[in-house]
Symmetry: D2
Subunit: 379 residues, 4 copies
Amino acid sequence: MQRLNWGLIGGGEGSQIGFVHRAGAEIDRLFELRAGAFDVNPAKSVEFGNSLGLDPTRVQGTWRDLLLSEKDRPDRLDLVTVATPNATHFEISKAFLEAGFNVFCEKPLTTTLDEARRLEVLANERGLICAVNFGYSGYPMVRHMRSLVSQGVLGAIRLVKAEFAAGFLADSSFDDNPRVRWRFDPEQAGNSLVMADMGCHAMHLVTFVTGQKVRSLSADLATGVEGRGLEDDALVAFRTTEGAIGRLWVSGLATGRTHGLTLQIFGEQGGLSWEQEQPEQLNFTPMGKASRILERGMDGISKEAAAANRITVGHPEGMVLAFANLYRDIASEIRARCTRSRSADPVLFPDVSDGRHMVEVVCAAVESSRNAGAWQSLE
Amino acid sequence: MQRLNWGLIGGGEGSQIGFVHRAGAEIDRLFELRAGAFDVNPAKSVEFGNSLGLDPTRVQGTWRDLLLSEKDRPDRLDLVTVATPNATHFEISKAFLEAGFNVFCEKPLTTTLDEARRLEVLANERGLICAVNFGYSGYPMVRHMRSLVSQGVLGAIRLVKAEFAAGFLADSSFDDNPRVRWRFDPEQAGNSLVMADMGCHAMHLVTFVTGQKVRSLSADLATGVEGRGLEDDALVAFRTTEGAIGRLWVSGLATGRTHGLTLQIFGEQGGLSWEQEQPEQLNFTPMGKASRILERGMDGISKEAAAANRITVGHPEGMVLAFANLYRDIASEIRARCTRSRSADPVLFPDVSDGRHMVEVVCAAVESSRNAGAWQSLE
Amino acid sequence: MQRLNWGLIGGGEGSQIGFVHRAGAEIDRLFELRAGAFDVNPAKSVEFGNSLGLDPTRVQGTWRDLLLSEKDRPDRLDLVTVATPNATHFEISKAFLEAGFNVFCEKPLTTTLDEARRLEVLANERGLICAVNFGYSGYPMVRHMRSLVSQGVLGAIRLVKAEFAAGFLADSSFDDNPRVRWRFDPEQAGNSLVMADMGCHAMHLVTFVTGQKVRSLSADLATGVEGRGLEDDALVAFRTTEGAIGRLWVSGLATGRTHGLTLQIFGEQGGLSWEQEQPEQLNFTPMGKASRILERGMDGISKEAAAANRITVGHPEGMVLAFANLYRDIASEIRARCTRSRSADPVLFPDVSDGRHMVEVVCAAVESSRNAGAWQSLE
Amino acid sequence: MQRLNWGLIGGGEGSQIGFVHRAGAEIDRLFELRAGAFDVNPAKSVEFGNSLGLDPTRVQGTWRDLLLSEKDRPDRLDLVTVATPNATHFEISKAFLEAGFNVFCEKPLTTTLDEARRLEVLANERGLICAVNFGYSGYPMVRHMRSLVSQGVLGAIRLVKAEFAAGFLADSSFDDNPRVRWRFDPEQAGNSLVMADMGCHAMHLVTFVTGQKVRSLSADLATGVEGRGLEDDALVAFRTTEGAIGRLWVSGLATGRTHGLTLQIFGEQGGLSWEQEQPEQLNFTPMGKASRILERGMDGISKEAAAANRITVGHPEGMVLAFANLYRDIASEIRARCTRSRSADPVLFPDVSDGRHMVEVVCAAVESSRNAGAWQSLE
């Protein structure tokens, strides 16, 4: 099977997320990196592209040049990944969608809700993919949670608890450093720090696993370090579209928590609990019974989890393979659209409506917090 | 040293908390059970008291008879523990305080704020102890947390996160059982279920460990099982008197969590994390350094933790010894007051003002939730 | 029900094991401390006994005086606990058994196999209890393991793995201290250090849980710190009487392991795993299924575990209550023998034949190691 | 930088290890898969190679054809990975080494010690790399353990404890299946099952981390399931070349342990503990201090661990990146040999002498066990 042509914007020298995208896209030989603009500095962009051994005619200094050079090629890109600073996501994604490219955009999709809605309309009108990288949804055991919930193993969902709390903003001694300071400045960084950066990941997992959206919320966005213009900690009470109770805590001040993304789902018939730092295990407690430790790769796992599983149980697969699962889903969907058929495999990548919904959640949380916790309804 | 005379109201046949009180009070030979009224059924009360081998003249069928028979004895009780249903705490504690007895009351101190304030005034006026059983504050490593915070090891506290979430209310098949149904009925159970039952424990730990009170809060009290008149899940955003950010989650719907009480404290210089189900360990992360697992009984532990420590490190001490630490503190304070001196040991039991503050917190949470999350100030 | 009369030899001022014995014996009100000789120093012994508020005529300076004063009393002791240095166990236990007292001896029962056999014959001839304090067998979840195995839940047992490895002998800077040095001196301490001190605990759990004895073994007793005359680390391969494969590791050099006692049992149909530092949980994996976390106090626990359970699930019970379970068993047995009936409750305390078998195991391990690992058969 | 030419023998359709090799070799763009013989069935081999999009002239049906077609090409392979059944390792590796190719052989290097020695001589005489895939040595925190030990952070090493115990051989219902039965048959599988398959991994980690070899050992190889001709459980006592005490347990019967590889190192100044199922963390306890949880990617990590680290701390890297670290080391060494220089980076892949030493260990364990545990010296 011919590999699909893939391009990357951003993710150049020194970028860890760039490495994970390249590894995740190519590891299954479904995509091959053909073109890119890797750095905001055009010279560095070219240098990096050449270091990867790409065809020099497809390495560009800017995303605009990439667009120009690719749009009329017969072997043009099947997918463009946008891994640039948040404020540029809208403009770049819009331009590539308008030129007919499928896009895989880093989260958050945009920094305003209006922009997100425009991208959603655009992608839908053109019949193009505009995936959004909520990468944790690629873990096999997250997909198994989703499958168990959709099979009704928990009964109706009553309660969802999500956390994404770590300590990466706890050291205030960097706050005067211009390379860090902008993050806390609403003029440069937008209306939210940890909700936009971390909260949307946790909340996407909630919607991914339950199959429900957020209907309303009340939020407290707080700043624990003096002088910061945006929140470094947030607490959100919410309700889902089917009425489940929701609780979310997000923090950058939680020294001692290395990553700190966890998800717990409680229904009429049992509960589930998962932690990103041990992504291979899922704790499942049927009502009134002992808790069970479900393992990635164990016998009897759901087909969604089995499809996302590569290595023998007991050997950690890690984050790269979670990204690879999103790329595999996108490849399936690209091929299915080409042949006007449906993919035989589960296709579970977060799409443009997920991306837009998460922008809505962040905006509603900001609005609620400004109104002293008043409940906000989402569309 | 002569053992102090101790009496117990409630805690009779079949009561687990009664066993823990008796074991905790007597294990250090500081108190000796001399008298009591153990059951709402007078005949059962007498039967139980006799089964304990007590002097039959000091075993009574009701707390009123106990009060009458004890108040004029020369060897009258030095302390009375009140382990009866919540709605009776006020009346019994008031009566014994008025008669000059020291009281150790189960939590919550009362079911209304007005009652709590009256007990506080009464105890203070009479110079009597009115301790409240927030028993988790007896664990050595909780006391070590408190000591580390007060020594400034974390710097100023920025953020506090407490949870008390378990699954004991998840099975709704008992809701029609009259022995359970009253818990969800505001007329019988008061204004709150999980906040009053569990939330006050978690919040007391917050105040105990930080040395700060709750200044304001916004709450979402929710019911996940149809037909219940009181909340079975709650989320509370709060601020402490010194401005720390607070987050509290309380639930009875969290199937798979056996007990679920945890406390995390984050300051300018590091973080602490503790879980009641593994009470012997405390996780401490100095800013920018590796996390350390502190063990009860290890070298270099604080004097507060060392004073609460009995068995060699590595052998779990458990809940009984946590209760014993409160009784030991109360014994020290009784003796100190008798001799108008100060106790040489740390005296850390929760007192009537702690009990009153927790009633305030519960009432404010109920009020906030009724007002769609509006922030409430506490005194 | 009348409390039984209990006496204690050793366990005085500063003794942690003495505290655990007193607390464990009295917490259920089945025994009451009436008499004792608590310290090798007669004056201190008397002082300590008086501090406990005992009848001064029953507090003695030496165990010989205790024996003399108790043996003809009408209210003589129903049980004597021997918590003295190992080398004195034989002489004291023998004297009290000969005088018709039930004995509860700290482990190891004796320091030579001949002595152990003599105590076994003596206790059996006299129809007296000579229990041995392998205290970890009092934990409810250890008893649940035993019950699951005896019910055949694992099928035939194929493999047993026990560890007792901690770091308490790792700091060699104390080796010149005379108060420590004797432990490493065969002339003073007997033929074994960690096998006799720790290995016998782990091996007793093996026999307790499987219901099988040790049939043969090959051992490597090693010394990791120069200058020590006895082993501070041991590895033992063994076979049980029904042919299961056995593996035991014991160490005092394992810095970072706080207590380090663990037991794993593997059979034809599944496996069990338990750790003393989290004694409330038991991991059970049925063949080909997910692992389950069994909790003390959960629904459906075995009657042996339920009988040993006191506090609501989720609140750690700890070591004192494990000891209390042995004392409760012994009380049941004393009463059953008085009435020539059988105890209605499970009676699971380690008896003199368990104590003798563990001395055999230690002696065989020493012999094997001296013979370069040659396999030794036990009787 | 030009990618090196890489070939793979074995690891075709359905092979998990084949996927991990391909992903690990290519993820850093240091190697590119150019040629191979992927299956014992020549037609399937060709089909698989074509599915990967390789140059059809470099896809062969057998390893012999691969050798013939590659040996005279100007762009011949820089490295051949041998991922075939154990019994074929010797013949294939020998043939490729004799033709001047660098080889990366799956473990065990060979099934007899004589063969291993011959490969060692051959590789050394030719100046070729003959790496052996003890893949766990690629984990960053294993490399950090090695660095801490070599820096002397633990002082002299006293004791090493390794385990590799899982349950994959516990279900005996497959024993009659011919596809499984050969594993237990000495005629087909060689002299050892779990020691050769798992024990060599654990023992390699011991030697890798301590920098010491095995000097002597005493082993008990046992069979827990009737009818098996080779051991499914093993216990080994050993001594290292510098006199440290060693303990190794290996099992296929340990139901409930998913993977079960752990390593603990204890020295004069502290201890280290690592588990393959949570490879990102390393527990370090300095003597007399609290245990610390070291995280991959944390500040202050050793240069060996930092060089093996790719993704932000908190996001699991997993097994593929551990393999990638071995491939990176091999690439560095190939380039260094080409330029007759030394690699600037740490080069830590297991080489032919490691592979030969592990064959020695397995053979000595078999011999010891046949002689009832008699100690065997290694060269």
